[in-house]
C-alpha cells in the first residue's frame, strides 16, 4: 500500500536485485529463443553462430511422413482428450462443489492425485494393466491415459471459478421460481464456462506435450510427436527437431494468450 518511501538517486542494492532477476528471467526464456535460431539456421547440423535464415527445416518437418503422422496423431489424441476432460472434469468439479458429498476434501485430493504420482509410473501401471488384460496398446487406451492426467486441470480451474462466484446468484434464481435444472443450465453453466474452457485448453497442451505417460503406451509407427522427437534426438540433432519444437512452442504461446484473455493466469498459480 505504501508508495515507496525510500526513493534515492541511485540504489546499488536495488540495482543488483533487479539485475539478478533480469538474468534469471533470461535463463528461463533464452533457451526457448535459441530453438528459434536453430530452426531457421540452414546448416545441416546444429552449429553456432547461425549463418543465415532458411525455412528448409520447416520444409523437412512438414514434408516428412513420419513427423506428419505423429503430429496428426498427437493433434487427434489431444482434441479427443480436450473434449473428454472438459465433460468429465466439469461434471466432477460441480459434484465436488455442489453435491454435498461427504469427505469432499479427501475426494478432491484423490482426483488431483494423477498430478502427484510420477507420470512415468502412471504410464507403467497402465502398460501393465493393458498387458494383463490382453487389450494390447490401442489408441483409445492412450486417450484414456491422457484424459486421466488432463482431468485434474479441468477440475482445478472449474473449482476455482465455482469458489469465486457468489452462490446467492443461484439461490436468487431458485427463489424467483426457476427449477433446479433451469438454474443449472441458465445460471451455473454459463458462469463456470470460462473456467471449464481454460482447463480444457490446458488439458489439450498436457496431452499434446505428453511424454512420460505415452512412452509405454504407443506402438511403433503409431507414436505421438513427443515420442518421435525423443527417439529422433537420440541419434540426430538437426534443425528438423528445432522446427518441430517451434511448432509446439507457437501452439503453447497462443494457448497462453488465450488463457490470459479467458480468465487470467491467476487460476493456474494455485499449485
Amino acid at each position: 500500500m505504501s508508495a515507496a518511501p525510500n526513493r534515492r538517486p541511485f540504489d546499488v542494492g536495488r540495482a543488483a536485485y533487479l539485475t539478478l532477476n533480469a538474468l534469471l528471467l533470461a535463463f528461463l526464456l533464452l533457451p526457448i529463443a535459441i530453438v528459434l535460431v536453430f530452426a531457421l539456421n540452414p546448416t545441416p547440423y546444429i552449429s553456432f553462430p547461425p549463418v543465415g535464415v532458411s525455412l528448409r527445416w520447416f520444409e523437412k518437418f512438414f514434408g516428412s511422413a513420419e513427423f506428419m503422422n505423429a503430429l496428426w496423431l498427437s493433434l487427434w489424441v489431444a482434441s479427443v482428450v480436450l473434449v473428454l476432460s472438459i465433460v468429465i472434469g466439469a461434471a466432477c468439479a460441480l459434484a465436488l462443489a455442489r453435491g454435498n458429498l461427504p469427505g469432499r476434501a479427501v475426494m478432491t485430493a484423490f482426483f488431483m492425485s494423477p498430478l502427484m504420482v510420477p507420470a512415468i509410473l502412471t504410464g507403467l501401471a497402465l502398460f501393465q494393466a493393458y498387458l494383463l488384460s490382453g487389450i494390447g496398446r490401442p489408441v483409445w487406451g492412450l486417450i484414456a491415459a491422457h484424459t486421466l492426467v488432463a482431468v485434474p486441470y479441468v477440475i482445478r480451474t472449474t473449482l476455482a471459478v465455482l469458489h469465486n462466484f457468489d452462490r446467492r446468484i443461484e439461490e436468487a434464481a431458485a427463489v424467483l421460481g426457476a427449477s433446479p435444472t433451469r438454474v443449472f443450465f441458465e445460471v451455473t453453466l454459463p458462469l463456470i464456462r470460462p473456467g471449464v474452457f481454460a482447463g480444457g485448453v490446458f488439458a489439450f497442451i498436457v496431452s499434446f506435450d505428453q511424454f512420460p505417460v505415452s512412452l509405454f503406451l504407443v506402438v511403433p509407427k503409431g507414436e505421438t510427436l513427443p515420442v518421435v522427437l525423443f527417439n529422433y534426438m537420440k541419434f540426430d540433432l538437426d534443425g528438423a527437431i528445432a522446427a518441430a519444437s517451434m511448432v509446439s512452442i507457437l501452439l503453447a504461446l497462443s494457448v497462453v494468450l488465450v488463457l490470459e484473455r479467458l480468465i487470467g493466469l491467476k487460476a493456474y498459480v494455485k499449485l
Binding site: A4, Y17, N21, L24, L25, F27, L28, L29, P31, I32, I34, Y45, I46, S47, F48, V87, I88, C92, L94, A95, L96, R98, N100, L101, P102, T108, F110, S113, M116, V117, P118, L121, T122, L124, A125, L126, F127, Q128, A129, L131, L132, I155, L159, D209, F211, P212, L215, P226, L229, M233, K234, L237, S245, S248, L253, V256, L265, Y268, V269, L271
Partner: protein, 291 residues
Amino acid sequence: MTNAARPTPIAWLIAPAGLLFVLFFVLPFAVMTAMSFYSGNPVTNPNAFLTTRHYERFIFDTAGIFHEALWSTLRIGLITTVISLLIGYPLAHWMARMQSRLGHALVLMAVIAPMLTGIVVRTFAWMTILQDKGVINTTLMQWGLIEKPLPLMYNEFGTIVALVHIYVPFMVLTLTGVIGRIDERLEQAARSLGAGRLRAFVEVTLPLSLPGILAGSLLVFALSISAYVTPSLMGGTDVLTLPMLIAQQVGTSFNPNFAGALGVILLLVSLAIVVAYNRILARLAGGQGMA
C-alpha cells in the same frame, strides 16, 4: 436449508470421473503392485508364482547398479532442488513484491511460458546449448578462451542444468504465493527500528517464507526424481536413474515384473514426499482445500 450431510442429485455428476479413475488409475496401480510380486505374467503363464525375488534383487543388488541408480536419482533430485530454490527465490520475491500489475502479469507469463513448452522441446534446447558444438562451447572457443570443448553434456552436470530450467517455474509459483501473503509492513517495521534491508530480509521475510521454501522444494524434488526424458538425453552413459532403469526393464529387458517392483519403490519414495508436501500446504492454508 436441507441437511448438509445428504448429497444432492448433482453428486451423481462425479460418476464419469469416478469410473475413469477406478478403471485407469486405481486398478492399474493395483495391477502393477500385484505384478511386482509375480514371477511372470499370471494371466498368460500358468506357471507364474508369487515371489519377493524382484525386491530381493533390488535390495541385495548383486549386479551393483540398483543402489547406485537409486542414489544418483536422489542426488540429482537434491542438487536440482537446491539450485532451483536459489534461482527461484529471488524471482518469486520480485514477483510477490511488484507494485505494477502489468509487470506482475508479464513476469508471470515469462515464468509460465516455459511450463507450457514440452519437456522434450526444453531438453532439446539445452542440448543445442551445452553440446560440444553447442552455443557455449563454440562461443568460448571462438573467443579463444578454451582449446577444446568443455564436457557440459552427457553427464550429471548437463542433466541438472536442464532439470533446474524445467522445474524452476514450479518453485517460483509455490514461493510467490507464500511470500505474497507475508505482510510487507513487518519488514518495514524492522527497517524503521534500524535493521538494514538485508538484515530485515534475513530475520523477518526469510523465516516467514520457510513453509513455502519447504513446500516448493518437496514439489521440485518429487518432480525431478521421476524425470525420464532429461536424464536419458542429457546424461548419456554417465547417468542412470530409477525412471531410466524402469524404462530399460520394459523396453529392452522386457521384464515387466521387475519394472513393477522398481515402480513400487519409486512410488513409495514420491508418496512420502507428497504426503509431507500436503501437510505443509495444509498448515499454510489453515485447512483450506488442495484446489
